[in-house]
Symmetry: C2
Subunit: 433 residues, 2 copies
Amino acid sequence: MNKEDIKGFFATSDQLNMDHYLTLDYYLECVGDIDTALAHFCSEQSTAQWNRVNYDEDFRPKYAAKVISLTVEGELDALSYPVKHSETGPIHACRVRIAHPYGNFGPKLPNLLSAVCGEGVFFTPGVPVVKLLDIGFPDSYLQSFDGPKFGVCGIRDLLQAYNRPIFFGVVKPNIGLSPAHFAEIAYQSWLGGLDIAKDDEMLADVEWSTLIERSRALGEARVRAEQETGEPKVYLANITDEVDRLIEQHDIAVKNGANALLINALPVGLSAVRMLARHSEVPLIGHFPFIAAFSRMEKYGIHSRVMSKLQRLAGLDSIIMPGFGSRMMTPEEEVKENIAECLQEFGHIRPSLPVPGGSDSALTLETVYRKVGSVDFGFVPGRGIFGHPMGPKAGARSIRQAWEAIEQGIPLEAYAIGRPELQVMVDGANGKK
Amino acid sequence: MNKEDIKGFFATSDQLNMDHYLTLDYYLECVGDIDTALAHFCSEQSTAQWNRVNYDEDFRPKYAAKVISLTVEGELDALSYPVKHSETGPIHACRVRIAHPYGNFGPKLPNLLSAVCGEGVFFTPGVPVVKLLDIGFPDSYLQSFDGPKFGVCGIRDLLQAYNRPIFFGVVKPNIGLSPAHFAEIAYQSWLGGLDIAKDDEMLADVEWSTLIERSRALGEARVRAEQETGEPKVYLANITDEVDRLIEQHDIAVKNGANALLINALPVGLSAVRMLARHSEVPLIGHFPFIAAFSRMEKYGIHSRVMSKLQRLAGLDSIIMPGFGSRMMTPEEEVKENIAECLQEFGHIRPSLPVPGGSDSALTLETVYRKVGSVDFGFVPGRGIFGHPMGPKAGARSIRQAWEAIEQGIPLEAYAIGRPELQVMVDGANGKK
């Protein structure tokens, strides 16, 4: 590209009608001339050839992605990760904001993904290292999306649970239980105070525990638990399956008494989530397999924040995500950003309940609550409830006791006295057991 | 986990009925005791808790993933990539093969992905760096999949093109052309000798070029080109869209004369590809957006080979992938592995035509052909045809001339004499123009 060609891929935001553009924030490592690399970066994701040969035309004003801001963070001795590439010259770490005209592809999730993290973005000459950090959407784009049908308020209303976190539990053993045994364990956990007993993300419709049988057993157990406790309860059934079975699986599970559904968002695809969310009669809750494969590297891939935003846009009423602590290998700031993506203002799109998870128990609740900074979150132990030495009812009880301690401002160890369910957890942590 | 617990996650393959297991090859960086880390790695992707509290039962023999081979490659001074993690101790680079019982999830692509590259795999304590290198499938698993309906032979029969590569071209300008102008350019390229004129992966059903109008114009132009040349031609329409529109888009495009369809596999999701492949009346060709985001790091993420294999399993008749040369930032060995994944023996699953692409032209054909090592590939220039100084018909002609030179064993420069379409490409490369 010559100097004149390059100019066609730069603009200031006041030169553009930003209502027609997404704003894309990237971290890039550029090799050689920065402006040339960035012009290629824009051309490759939009108008890679902007006129027919021998025609005096220019598709760039209407269709080109354009750099609207650039911060050169500094020169590097080498790429942050070794990547074979074609260019030579100095290497610069850059933060760039691109205005991408969404009319090139429209309000469709697969086409959006193809534009913002597709071939153009990851195969630009001179830009071997790329991380998509964020996407900004104008209201005109958001208008085409429904977002969550229930959201935080809908889930609270369903459970009649306000001014506190929502207490989930992943029924364990996660793999291998018969539906009858699974239902009995979930029942016990509901009696102990759990709001939502859930299938593991690995457990779906399998021969040894078909969705039909499991949802029937759990639906029936849920009603019994509601009668026993006088409180609404939720069975969260995992209907992750081939996309052409999702609607049928929804219908089976809901008919049998599952009153929320779990879906592994990236494995089925965000577009399938959007389809299902439109159809769903109950809250739809997403789990996070696959996302770490492209979000864990600090300077390469796609930031998990983008996936939280897109999952909310696709219509998930609640988003389970890697939570706090080194166990989940996610920087604390990133967890907080993902929680914020669920709850913050986002056009007309309803808030989604964030569920930061990972090896939680009564002992971690206060830390999670303090870090989240509000009661608008879900708390999702697995073994912390279902591996509790006194059984799942006691496991669930220990979680509610831990919350009572927080509400009353009493240290956990003090509150545990006379409460054996919590006491056994505290003792375990102190190595007494 | 104690020593006895750890044992439950190790086996030799002759202790298992391998017909019930996938084999998963991973590169792992383990922190602390290797056996402990690997036992966790297996438990987290399968039976994270293998008995109910106070029940004498063990779900591991039937449901646990198990290490069946391990090679410790050496001790590292530090992780290959900085990742926050919970364990301490020496760091070892390991190659491990896991036997994973597929009965845990069944022959469903979203559930497979959740198992082999989901939360368990990427969030195991002591294993902060993971790359999924390969998946081996027993025939009993493959039997549930149809794979490509047409495959290499079907595409060759459609085009009546044997003993040579298949010549694709990405119509450019890729974004901004009206359907009428788009059709005229494709028509010219077919006259010049192109087999398949294709939509760019970024161009789908948009207001300024609806699929209805574009497929109608291109279907009509294709028939004219076939009459003019006496050869079968293909218009490859990109129907990438929300998953609940794919079947309708297929029907529209095919009815209007598109006789192959393009789909961005990962953006719609592999499961949507499988659904579409079952329905499709014409060859289904996949493009590669998104894959680089999780496959480019040498030691982290998912190897692109896995995605080639899964795209074939899902039913793509042809797979467009990053090709040779530093422009595409993919090691040559990896490109060859992806080509092999398309063509090699794979149970009853038909071969898929590999299309290694990236900034190709008449000048790169011989190199690609030599590296592929056979005629069973597609060649897919964009600007190399549609940016040709003499126009798209000459651009396509230059590709066919380059193939004639190869067939006849004549150096390109010699063969270009008296053939202006090829000559102008050779001159351009020599800086004469």
